[in-house]
């Protein structure tokens, strides 16, 4: 099949960038990234700069890949990362616009590659539990309700790809934040730090220049892992409770 691609080309973080038109050939068995690999081989053969895009596992589990295809993060197929999106979902003659995630929090490094370390800073602010190292606790020592463990597992599906931020008209990271908070907050191991976690992760998202949620649901629609708006409500509940009731220990330093 023949495709016309309009791809965002940006040399580095400080150059302006623009859409560039390419014609390419693909077959329906290729994944979207393989289609780009073929395009890049052609570009290299011609002595041009290949299109940079992020990828690693190419099996939909690592969260490295992702860009916007015709205005939809990860492309038109629901619950699918671009590496798992196959060309059979497109037709001969299609015209496709490929753009990087666009958010102040995710500066473009080159072409379709963005810097997502703002997510790492959010995780560092509270996306963890503290446990004593040493011999592992017996697996069944701590009972967990089946419903809670199921929901925690649903939340833990998040691979941190950033599609929620890319799709959100407000560039909010709420779906990501809420998945990480719910995944830990639904389990007994996540309880001791639950309040601090909510406060610190929300503050870190605001430091990272993510926007505010308007409950629109674009994030849920593009999430490759089916994370639901319900988790955002859980986060709101935790944060509001923490903000009202949290007692700050003041450490005097001088």
């Amino acid at each position: 099949m023949k495709l016309t691609l309009h791809i965002w080309r940006q040399k580095n973080a400080s150059s302006p960038g623009k859409m560039v038109r390419y014609e390419t050939d693909a077959n329906e068995h290729m994944s979207f990234l393989e289609m780009l690999d073929v395009l890049n081989e052609g570009l290299i053969a011609k002595g041009e700069e290949p299109v940079a895009f992020d990828h690693d596992c190419r099996e939909g589990i690592c969260g490295s890949c992702g860009f916007v295809i015709n205005g939809v993060a990860h492309g038109p197929l629901p619950s699918t990362t671009v590496c798992q999106l196959h060309m059979r979902h497109f037709k001969d003659g299609d015209e496709l616009y490929l753009e990087p995630w666009r958010a102040a929090a995710f500066p473009v490094i080159k072409d379709l590659v963005v810097d997502r370390s703002a997510f790492d800073r959010i995780i560092a602010a509270g996306g963890y539990i503290s446990v004593s190292t040493g011999s592992a606790v017996d697996a069944n020592a701590l009972p967990v309700r089946k419903k809670d463990s199921d929901m925690a597992m649903d939340a833990a599906q998040c691979i941190g790809c950033g599609a929620c931020v890319a799709a959100c008209p407000n560039a909010s990271a709420s779906l990501f934040l809420s998945a990480k908070m719910s995944h830990l907050g639904l389990l007994p191991q996540g309880q001791p730090e639950r309040m601090e976690r909510a406060l610190n992760m929300v503050a870190a998202a605001n430091e990272g220049l993510f926007g505010s949620c308007t409950n629109i649901g674009e994030c849920e629609a593009v999430c490759p892992k089916g994370i639901r708006l319900e988790f955002i409500a859980r986060m709101n509940r935790d944060f509001l409770k923490a903000a009202w009731t949290f007692r700050q220990e003041r450490v005097e330093s001088d």
Partner: protein, 229 residues
Amino acid sequence: MSAAATALTGKSAERFRFWDSPIGKKAVMAATGFILFGFVTGHMLGNLQIYLGPEKLDAYAEFLQQTKGLLWGARITLLICVALHVTAAIQLALLQKKARPQAYVKKTSAGSSYASRTMYWSGPILLAFIVFHLLHFTTGQAHPDFQHGAVYRNVVTGFQSAPASLFYIVAMLLLGAHLYHGIWSMFQSVGINHPKYTPVFKKLAALMAAVLVGGNVSIPVAVMTGLIR
């Protein structure tokens, strides 16, 4: 925690609390939006008495004017609600501008309602409408022939102007859009979302939005078509 400053307030993370955060502001918007929604519903029910004739409507208006405590209590509450709702809306809109400085060349909606994506448009136009509405029927400066206390007559003469009626009708459609999203969104904002109840909230939101648009729009339409004179 890092010493970096947060975008909404410039405070460090240690001091970042309720109103500083988008979630706290949204909770305030939900609470004030809920009160405004309650008022809008009551206001419509009161106004529909226009169909019972001039005596009934004017007597109702007279009753409201007599109970000064209630009148001013309600006015002050509503004013505080609008002020908080609008302040949060402006601050979050500014944050939104900072968070997405460069727009997409091509953006397609993957699964949200038109009403939800236009909250930052329907809201400010509603604010302009509220100002006009007060000048029109409460204080009279925007009314061609205003008479204090003659509510029924003021409504009829007011809506005989086609541009005024049209503005009311458009504003009410926008209120419907605002509430089609707002009435279920306010639950989500304060942390209430459940597979059993959220679909009910969404249906309720659509129903209430339709009732409010229908009830309010019927009045200028009735005047324009001569049903009420």
